[in-house]
Symmetry: C2
């Protein structure tokens, strides 16, 4: 293990009835002026909006609303939120939605306590020193944003999709009720599952020495997801499957499986470059890139890939070279992703080779990416070409 | 899963060099008047005492010392610490040692902010409302006390060994450097390993529905411990093995594998009764009681025991009844415990049947114990009889 410091201060509420019992109490710890942030309005259709605003009203809160946060949340929307918080003296940002809404909430919370343009944080020109308190109510299992300090925002003008993290951006509290994910459509459900698996992979492909428990826990996550996902895709209103996937999403990126590790994260950088240019769903892009990344780095990651193949994908290593075992695992991963309906290539999104160089450029804009193998622009181009069909 | 609230605020530092880099900074957040609490003085022999007091001195702290905390920490020692804190206006308790020292530190921290006798908390006569800040430096992998709010103390006059937990008793910070466990003798090392495994078992044998990920993570812990322990017992100065076991200890009881579960914990209650009467090591008692408890509740826990047998103990279920698979797993657990040198029966401690009724009485003093099967005094007597040889 690498030496590490771990601190995850989020108060996590899971299950039915928690919002009714504890939301008012949590909100009142931070103030009465609340920015209620949400997306396209699905929370109105299934009643969550009424429930939450009712509780806030009863708690004596003054509620300011900002809706329409996009699936890849946009800088312009964040700027609106920052202005609103500064103008109205907002005391708590309450983000109700999926990872995009939560990530926008973090960006707004950081921007509201900053004199410059909060985009500086994403450009690595400045660091978050303070932020408004943030609370979340999760409606989509995917990003793990409900229990970490990470945020990803897209600047559509410059076609940059960038992430950053800060200890100041952990939600103070998060409410996760799987019932609030029951109406998520099939595609988004699948993208969420892929996103969760990809977080496990990014942590699993670590260069730190001696991390057997972290690996076992990552494998436990993957096994659980792969047992549960087919059942959920089959029956989208399976509440137990929704619960399991939601919990896997939280545990995949709250730091529990990455203490003392040094994850790779090249695949995320490549996917961000793709969806900055084409605005495709993050999970869709990850399903395409991850198997190709694994194949590209198979030389460097052979042992770990073979372990994954045996422990998670049930590959029998008898009579196989380590490399063949490793690659058979990747083949089964592709098969699994196809079986739950994830996209298989960029062609599925009508994306050709026109912008390969531009995307590769963006992926390495802060320097080479990845730890298992340091990828330069040329490496990323080769991976992207492999993604075409 | 059961609905749950999770909040673990401990700042965790792992690895070499962290004490030197961050201890002063952490201590100064809470004040300058520090109670330094430790055990039998082994921390002086291997240099940790000098390192810590040097850092505290340089940080301008006024240090009060209380040493001699016992392996099953005693109420009389805790009372001394409480008196000292109240008299001197101590601002931070810094516990340097194993779980016993940490647990005594928690008891002292709670008692220092309480007008009555802090033993009331253990007797369930009152609840902790406030506590002094507590920091820890861990020197023995076992109890997980470095990242939870639990404490166990023994009242030697009444022969009661009782535990309690409070959100106020989480360490504010904990430093875990496996190098500080290198000199732990073989017996204590083994007891620690058994204690860690028993925490995983207590969580694993849960009655909550739909906890596949929690089970996989628990199994990952057990697999990791069982891979590592034989290597460590073979070579006590294997730093990587020390690191893995230390990390397993923290993760086994910091709440990560028990979110939404309802663990059994009868075995701990039974062991506490044994060591309240005989003052045997906690881990030694657990190694004796756990397999017998499993056999006693095999009817109720058959499915979970069989899953454990297959996934962790490598039992091939083909051609076996579920019950046979389950019991074969328990047999292999006994075999594993014997192989690392854990005691096999109460006879190993020279304990006969003289105090069976007394111990059973103590185990159920607050009512029936356990969730998989509610155990009354008579059940506990039967389990204790099975432990005799």
């Amino acid at each position: 293990m690498n030496p590490f410091r771990f601190h995850n201060p989020t108060v996590l509420y899971y299950g039915a009835g928690q919002i009714e019992s504890y939301l008012a109490e949590e909100v009142k710890k931070y103030g009465r002026k609340v920015l209620l942030l949400y997306g396209g309005g699905s929370i109105k259709r299934f009643g969550l909006y009424d429930k939450v605003t009712g509780i806030l009203r009863e708690a004596g809160c003054q509620v300011f609303e900002l809706s329409g946060v996009e699936p890849n949340p946009r800088l312009t929307t964040v700027h609106k939120g920052v202005d609103l918080c500064k103008r109205e003296g907002v005391e708590l940002v309450l983000a109700v939605g999926g990872g995009s809404v939560l990530d926008a909430g973090k960006a707004i919370a950081a921007g509201a306590k900053y004199d410059g343009d909060m985009w500086n944080f994403y450009l690595r020109k400045d660091r978050v020193q303070a932020a408004l308190p943030l609370g979340t109510i999760l409606t989509l299992a995917a990003t793990g944003s409900e229990m970490n300090g990470n945020t990803v925002v897209t600047n559509w003008e410059t076609k940059e999709k960038l992430g950053m993290g800060s200890p100041h951006l952990y939600p103070r509290f998060s409410f996760c009720d799987p019932a609030n994910t029951l109406t998520v459509p099939r595609d988004q459900t699948v993208y969420g599952i892929v996103d969760i698996m990809s977080h496990v992979f990014e942590n699993y492909f670590s260069t730190a020495p001696n991390t057997p428990l972290q690996e076992r826990m990552a494998e436990g996550l993957l096994l659980t997801i792969m047992e549960t996902a087919p059942r959920l895709v089959e029956r989208l209103d399976d509440l137990e499957a929704r619960e399991t996937i939601m919990y896997c999403g939280t545990m995949a990126l709250n730091g529990m499986i990455s203490m003392g590790t040094a994850g790779d994260w090249a695949t995320h950088a490549i996917e961000h470059a793709i969806s900055a240019v084409y605005d495709i769903p993050h999970g869709g892009g990850l399903a395409i890139v991850f198997p190709r990344w694994m194949e590209y780095v198979a030389g460097e990651a052979e042992g770990k890939l073979a372990q994954l193949a045996v422990r998670v994908f049930g590959v029998d290593p008898a009579g196989k070279s380590q490399r063949d075992t490793a690659l058979e695992g990747v083949r089964r991963l592709r098969e699994f992703l196809r079986s739950i309906g994830a996209p298989g290539s960029l062609a599925d999104y009508g994306i050709g080779d026109e912008n390969i160089a531009l995307m590769a450029e963006k992926a390495v804009q802060f320097g080479p990416i990845g730890r298992i193998r340091k990828l330069e622009k040329d490496d990323v181009e080769q991976i992207l070409r492999a993604c075409l069909k």
